[in-house]
């Protein structure tokens, strides 16, 4: 099974589950970096806040992220500049820099033990094919007053054609930061509930969030759940991807801290270092793909390991994990109030989510307190950008339509339950319906409808995470049907295993 380095190294949490009906000013769904930082600010503003986390704090994407903080963006600033304009790219860089500074200030102010440190960010090309990308980024960086040094070699054992270095970016343990910050939230104003899954939101003047053992009534709701829970038009403009990470413990080699991004690798896109009392590690990350649209997901970890062993003196792979991100249609995240009054969300962060998560909290703090925010308009959730979005929007939504075609009669992966191996999941057609059939290590068969409870796509088995992943909008479910993440509220519908297919 997979396990993130950050979650393993961070302190444990022990917040209660919600067991009664409460009324607050702001209900926050999701206890990741966006939710907890928002709760911190809003409680400080004097708002009564409840945070509802379905698992444990930072137990989702935050704890599975890279731990990198930077003012640049995954798609590069020059891409934002060409798609939008110079003013927008500058605002993106400035807003992200402000978010990184804020994290540093919070860490210092509250002495949060999360290994925060300023480190350089490197961008490099291994061959001259992508030298042009480096050149563009140098020019863009200069335009925005970012000092980028050109290099001929890197402090890690990778041969480069060209490279740049930007000082002053940062790294930390994101799970430790979130759990540490949660302890510093004004407990008079904010209550945190773990293992409290919101399964329904009744929208109205006051929104009512239903959980298993209680309800939360609130005028304002922040869906800090990556893709917002439920059905929203924005889900046609954000595209779910997964990325993989390994933490390789090194036998030898002590490399300087840094964020190392490869411009041209089709698979391995970034590396970073990590040290603690047990030794030196290198983290290798990459292998982007659309959620639920691959076979043999383990191969992504295998390729990362091969790459790590090629470059470094690796003792063992101690941790491996994967995380989800949503690429936005027009290149910028969607942060702000949704089409439903009083319901806010922050999504479409691509792989830049830690910094954008904190930036979202800065924006929510102002919006929910009735103040102007200088970046609110830039990232407005309800913006309409047909020209900037068209290419991705059309391509990705055609892809979604294709995924729906998996729900045609006769298109199942197996005919009978016995074709499903131990520890394996397959989609089986039973009585004109697709079933998600999982056989656990003891041979027990778990049957659910394979129809995603969000918008009815057919889920796909992920052998690396032992999960059912929806290829349309990124909802993910445990092998036993419970929701892990994504826009779906409800678990997969259970099906009775007693069936003629079982014989």
């Amino acid at each position: 099974m997979t396990r993130s380095l950050w979650k393993a190294k961070a302190q444990k949490t022990n917040y209660p589950a919600l067991k009664n009906n409460i009324t607050v000013d702001v209900a926050i769904v999701g206890g990741g970096i966006t939710g907890i930082t928002s709760a911190y600010f809003l409680a400080k503003e004097g708002k009564k806040v409840a945070v509802l986390e379905s698992h444990e704090l930072a137990g989702g994407t935050t704890g599975d992220s890279t731990g990198n903080l930077y003012k640049m963006v995954d798609k590069r600033l020059h891409h934002i500049q060409s798609k939008w304009d110079e003013k927008t790219a500058r605002a993106v860089a400035e807003s992200r820099a402000a978010a990184v500074d804020l994290i540093e200030n919070l860490v210092k102010e509250h002495e949060i033990k999360c290994d925060f440190k300023r480190v350089p960010w490197y961008l490099f090309s291994e061959t001259n094919k992508k030298d042009e990308t480096i050149e563009k980024e140098i020019i863009t960086a200069k335009d925005y007053g970012i000092k980028a040094d050109t290099l001929q070699e890197l402090p890690i054992p990778v041969q480069v054609s060209s490279a740049i270095k930007v000082e002053g970016q940062a790294q930390f343990n994101p799970a430790a930061f979130v759990r540490g910050l949660a302890e510093k939230i004004d407990s008079e104003n904010c209550h945190i509930y773990e293992h409290t899954n919101v399964h329904h939101i009744e929208k109205g003047e006051d929104h009512v969030l239903s959980t298993q053992h209680g309800t939360v009534t609130a005028k304002k709701v922040i869906l800090a759940t990556h893709s917002p829970k439920g059905i929203y038009p924005v889900q046609t403009a954000i595209y779910p991807h997964r990325e993989y990470a390994i933490a390789a413990k090194l036998n030898s080699g002590d490399y300087p801290d840094g964020i190392y991004w490869d411009t041209e690798a089709t698979f391995h896109t970034s590396m970073r270092t990590f040290k603690n009392h047990t030794g030196n590690y290198v983290l290798v990350l990459g292998g982007h793909h659309k959620v639920g649209q691959e076979d043999n997901y383990e191969r992504f970890f295998e390729k990362l390991e091969q790459h790590a062993r090629k470059l470094f003196d690796v003792a063992e792979i101690e941790y491996k994990w994967s995380a989800q991100h949503y690429k936005p249609a027009d290149g910028l995240p969607y942060i702000g109030e949704s089409s439903d009054d009083g319901i806010y969300f922050a999504t479409g962060f691509s792989t830049d989510g830690l910094t954008y998560g904190v930036l979202s909290a800065m924006i929510f703090k102002d919006l929910l307190s009735g103040r102007e925010n200088e970046w609110a308009e830039l990232y407005k959730a309800k913006r309409f950008t047909p020209i900037k979005s068209a290419k991705n929007y059309i391509k990705e939504n055609i892809n979604v339509a294709k995924q729906y075609l998996k729900d045609l009669p006769g298109k199942a992966e197996a005919e009978r339950f016995y074709e499903v191996g131990i520890g394996e999941g397959k989609v089986v057609e039973v009585d004109d319906e697709k079933w998600a059939v999982y056989k656990d290590e003891t041979g027990q068969v778990h049957c659910h409808s394979a129809v995603c409870t969000h918008m009815d796509c057919i889920v796909d088995w992920n052998d690396a995470e032992k999960s059912w992943d929806c290829p349309c909008h990124g909802s993910r479910f445990e092998a036993t049907g419970d929701v892990i993440e994504g826009p779906a509220f409800s678990p997969l519908d259970k099906r009775d295993v007693k069936s003629r297919k079982d014989s």
Partner: protein
């Protein structure tokens, strides 16, 4: 052109009949079938529209177009309800299907008559 439209709409009708079985049993129709059904019907109606706008024939099949267009509005309504997990009113599904079938019968009567 009209023949192509009839073939596409006939295929859509067959898939529609397959789906109405699910609706009557209060089960969710397979979305893949719904998408193919809608796409075939939309293409058929589009071809009928192009025919009506471009033909010099006396009978432009505007009547059939109007019937299928009405059925299509019902189909869009049903799909939008279904995809958001709202209850599909069975009578709307039945009326939608009946209008579609009537349209197919109507156009066949005029083409073969």
């Amino acid at each position: 052109m009209v023949l192509t439209a009839i073939i596409l709409i006939s295929l859509a009708v067959i898939l529609g009949l397959y789906m109405i079985k699910f609706v009557l049993q209060k089960k969710n129709p397979p979305k893949g079938v719904a998408i193919v059904h809608g796409t075939l019907a939309a293409l058929g109606i589009l071809i009928l529209l192009i025919y009506a706008l471009t033909t010099s024939e006396h009978h432009k099949h505007w009547d059939s177009f109007a019937i299928f267009f009405t059925a299509a509005i019902g189909g869009i309504y049903l799909f939008s309800k279904d995809i958001r997990h709202k209850n599909i009113p069975v009578w709307v599904a039945v009326v939608h299907g009946a209008i579609g079938l009537t349209g197919l019968g109507w156009i066949l009567y005029h083409v073969t008559g």
